[in-house]
């Protein structure tokens, strides 16, 4: 079952690459650099999916005390951090030719960076507690707080940026999206979700086996 998922993911990624490089046109304003978005946007969407699952697993564990929920939270947290890191790196690389700098404190990058820090802390907490029961409990509390905090972070960063915003140079988000670009984004998003599901299944299986050993 998991193997099928894995192959589907590979298929999806190949299709995504084809769509992103072959099918989608060269973007008018940004040029080819825009193709990084086929990596960046699906990565961040997948990360949000991951952290939603961390929330679900955390609540599930505290409500039922069944370790399956904790395994979900742990696996989703780990993979979520991976994809968040990818989001930040791809965003930064995209930013260099676009804005001229590797890093800028714009709303999205800043929010994503904060998200990254919150869940790295989550993983750190998990790594420092040996007793599985205490680990699951404490991680669940942090998982819930971290997730609930996400919209609060989003708004605070957005309003903070509004104070310090330099004149917006490029606003590619504003113009209507070329349907070809939209389709390429969609295909890549599906591919990333499949990959995430595959990673999640394998990681949870490892956790289950570790518990039994």
């Amino acid at each position: 079952m998991i193997r099928v998922l894995g192959w589907l993911a590979v298929l999806g990624l190949v299709a995504g690459l084809a769509a992103g490089f072959g099918y989608a046109p060269r973007e008018a304003v940004q040029g080819n650099v825009q193709r990084i978005m086929y990596l960046h946007v699906p990565a961040v969407l997948t990360a949000y999916l991951a952290f939603a699952l961390v929330l679900a697993g955390s609540i599930g564990y505290l409500a039922t005390r069944r370790s399956g929920w904790d395994r979900l939270a742990a696996a989703a947290g780990e993979i979520g951090v991976l994809f968040t890191g990818l989001t930040i790196v791809s965003g930064s690389i995209w930013g260099k030719p676009t804005w001229g700098t590797w890093w800028t404190w714009d709303a999205r990058l800043t929010s994503t960076a904060v998200l990254f820090c919150v869940y790295v802390g989550y993983l750190l907490l998990r790594s420092l507690i040996e007793d599985p029961e205490a680990r699951a409990r404490y991680a669940a509390v942090v998982g819930i707080l971290g997730a609930v905090n996400i919209p609060i972070v989003h708004f605070s960063v957005k309003w903070w940026r509004a104070l310090h915003q330099p004149s917006t140079i490029l606003g590619p988000e504003r113009s209507p999206i070329d349907p070809a670009i939209g389709l390429a984004l969609f295909v890549n998003w599906v591919a990333f979700t499949l990959l995430f599901a595959y990673f999640l299944s394998r990681r949870m299986e490892i956790a289950r086996l570790e518990e039994q050993t």
């Binding site: 040029g31 990565a43 991976l82 990818l86 030719p97």
Partner: protein, 44 residues
């Protein structure tokens, strides 16, 4: 507008390395677990 393919490949390259590394990490952990379970007598 310069071609900037270097950046595109850098981004995709890093992503590929990261995802492949994580996949290998999962594979290795699975094998290690399987080996440990095979070596231990099944405790009921």
């Amino acid at each position: 507008m310069p071609s900037n393919w270097g950046y595109v490949f850098a981004a995709y390259g890093i992503a590929a390395v990261a995802l492949l590394s994580y996949w290998r990490h999962l594979a290795r952990r699975t094998h290690a677990l399987a080996a440990r379970r095979a070596a231990k007598p099944r405790a009921t």
